[in-house]
């Protein structure tokens, strides 16, 4: 079995003895001789992060370089570990709800949606249709917001500083809708177990439709700046390639998987909330490179707008809160429920012991799993590509570390 491991994971540089890994973690020790400096090594070990402009938070990547060529990487994560899963064990089901917003804080609504649906499943109830439509609209708006933030920061990593401001400006409109709907912009806590806490405000539909009309030309503007720009194309095409088979092997999900050509989206494969009522396409790429991931996400933004427009026109009347017990005590059992978060498959594995507090909540974070493929994607590339690939995986360290 060990041999098997070696062959299948040869690209991971797992053969490096542990002692050696230690050495490049602790290279900060003073050199042995006075005339010897850190630069005397044949391989350059570059410590990128945790305070680096483009590691999107506190990711630390140790790069082993030959000149500028990357020989291997090692991710050191956990700087933002807050023990969300442990917190869950000490909170009731309702009380844990706001915490999930803090994992992937740029897609808080999706996190909340996944959690609420998982607990609802465990309680064997379902949110009323109206609540489900509201959930879909907000989740898709959140997907747009997340993709916009991704696009801005990704472009910034590649050196285009301007798209960042355009995307943030347009994301602001989404946040305004969130603020009007539930009173918070980022960590929304928009949904409750069993439905939604808040009824739509007056003018919600108009706001959303207005936003859709507003944002379409803006997405075209991002494309004007980037899609055909030769520098952008050169920087992204053929960079960080991951094949479909590798992507599946690495458990990569979301746009990264779809860019490799796997047409798989949980919204279609196992529809949750009200997604089965809407028509939309799953954009896929062919090459699985950074450019394809960019194209896929841009296309997803258009598809999200499509879903939002369909949903907003068809919000059914009715209650927004299902019949939930006042004291939430799901029967003994366990459930795994996953949704298609902007970053990939976001799953919640909840074990109930019949009390008011979950016995165990496991979050399957898409960023964490996707980040694992970084090494595969950047090996043999240049330092600048590492930055581009970290950007294109679209990680949020709050979710990676939880």
């Amino acid at each position: 079995m060990a041999d098997d491991t070696k062959s299948r994971t040869a690209h991971l540089d797992l053969d490096t003895p542990e002692s050696q890994i230690e050495t490049y973690m602790h290279r900060r020790a003073a050199p042995a001789r006075e005339e010897e400096t850190y630069l005397d090594a044949n391989e350059l070990v570059l410590n990128m992060g945790p305070q680096h402009p483009s590691t999107h938070g506190v990711l630390r990547v140790i790069l082993k370089l030959d000149g500028e060529k990357v020989l291997g990487t090692e991710c050191i994560i956990g700087y933002l570990h807050r023990g969300v899963e442990k917190i869950a064990e000490n909170r009731t089901y309702t009380m844990f709800n706001p915490y999930v917003d803090r994992m992937d804080y740029v897609a808080a609504v999706s996190n909340g949606l996944g959690y609420c649906e998982a607990v609802e499943k465990l309680l064997n109830i379902e949110a009323p249709p109206r609540a489900q439509y509201i959930r879909v609209i907000l989740a898709e708006l959140n997907r747009l917001a997340s993709h916009m933030l991704w696009l801005g920061t990704h472009a910034l990593d590649i050196g285009a500083i301007t798209p960042l401001f355009y995307t943030f400006r347009d994301r602001e409109e989404i946040l305004k809708i969130f603020e009007k709907y539930c009173g918070a912009r980022l960590t929304t806590h928009a949904f409750r177990i069993g439905g939604c806490q808040y009824e739509t405000y007056e003018g919600f539909e108009q706001d959303v439709i207005k936003f859709c009309k507003f944002v379409r030309p803006k997405i075209d503007e991002y494309e004007t700046l980037l899609t055909t720009n030769r520098i952008w194309v050169e920087r992204t095409r053929g960079v960080g390639v991951i094949s479909a088979a590798d992507a599946i092997d690495f458990g990569v999900t979301g746009p990264v998987l779809r860019a490799s050509g796997v047409k798989w989206d949980l919204r279609k494969a196992q529809p949750y909330a009200a997604y089965k009522n809407f028509e939309f396409d799953i954009p896929i790429g062919q090459n699985g490179d950074t450019y394809d991931r960019y194209i896929v996400r841009i296309a997803e933004m258009h598809q999200s707008l499509r879903i939002i427009e369909q949903a907003v026109g068809a919000i059914p009347e009715g209650p927004i809160m299902g019949k939930v017990p006042k004291v939430m005590k799901p029967p003994v059992g366990e459930i795994y429920h996953s949704i298609e978060a902007p970053k990939g498959e976001l799953g919640y594995f909840i074990v109930s012991d019949g009390s008011t507090q979950p016995y165990r909540v496991r979050v399957r974070p898409p960023s964490f799993v996707n980040l694992q493929a970084l090494d595969k994607m950047v090996r043999g590339a240049l330092v600048a590509d590492v930055v581009a690939v970290i950007g294109t995986i679209d990680i949020v360290l709050g979710e990676v570390d939880r």
Partner: protein
Amino acid sequence: MQQFLNYLNSTQTPGETGNFAWATIYILIIFGGISVAVIAMNWLERKVLAHMQVRLGPMRVGPHGLLQPIADALKLLIKEDIMPAEADRLMFWMAPVIVVITAFTVFIVIPFGPTHAVTDMNIGVLFMLGVSSLGVLGIIMAGWASNSHYPLLGALRSSSQMVSYEIAMGMAVISAILMTTLTADGAGTLSMIQIVQAQDKQQMWFLFRMFPFGFLAFFIFAIAMVAETNRAPFDLPEAESELVAGFHTEYSGFRWSLFFLAEYAAMLAVSSIAVTLWMGGWMRPFSHWLAGDTWDAFFSFFPAATFFLLFVVALAGTVRMPKHAAFKIQKAGLGAFALVLGGIGVLLLIPPVKDRIQDIYWFVAKVSVFMYAYIWYRGTFPRYRFDQLMKLGWKVMIPVGIAVLIVVAAAPAFNFVW
């Protein structure tokens, strides 16, 4: 004293006449002017970039952030001077000095007018190319002396980038120099002043000479000069998202500000060279097409008009400022600034000043177009990757440069000149 002032009517540069006093004055004026230009450029870059990015830019220090660069300069001066413990102290200290010296030395040969240069060397272009490429030494020293990985990578990138683009730049420059031989007397020159005069004699900027080859050469130079000065989209040596700050990662405070100063001075220098070689230097636009006293008089009002325009803009800004107690001082400041601009405008209407300022005005105006372009590129383009930059340099720029050079060199031999 009379003799001293008589120089004002001289037709030669102080360097040529050996007028040491005036040379010193010129150097001081250029040094001061560049420093002011860098400060202005700093503010403009922030403002223009901000507006491209739907932001406001600095607004708090002074009206519309006009005093922001000064505040920043002060902050940099009083910052703690940090030198990494394992840095090579001498090299670390020398690196910014070398970079600044080389960046400023180039200005010796740059002609702001037929007489407005410190000196007119007969090898002006060669001197310029030689000195400006020395700047890379300082960058390598900075990268090496920091004894750190990011600066080292930045320095290595910088050196290879500069060396590669120097060649393309040289090709473009040589084709411009070859064009100076197209004048009636057939004599070529390397002197910056005579290059402009050659354009005058040929009644055409070299930009349009042998179209499109003059333009192509200019285009290659325009790209290479962005790469030479390490600016976006070729800012790999200091690529923020990759190498943190590249070769000056370990620098802070005043030393860092020297790098900053040198970068902007270098930008001004290469833009000045481009203007001199291809855009007719101090010549006003359409100097031959729209010739005649009337047109001369018309164009001579441009300097004053520019300042009046700025005056109006500043005044409008003053009027549009919110009526709020917090804005009292800012309003007064901006109003005063507007008045100063207006005053300069009036001053430029006085005949002797008006006549003497023409050359400098047109030169500066042309350079500022380049400066704007620098900011504009930065606001629009992503950054090249290192190998792509090299590919562009070696596989596109240099072959095209050589092709242009061959055409420009060969065409006159067949008496085929347009």
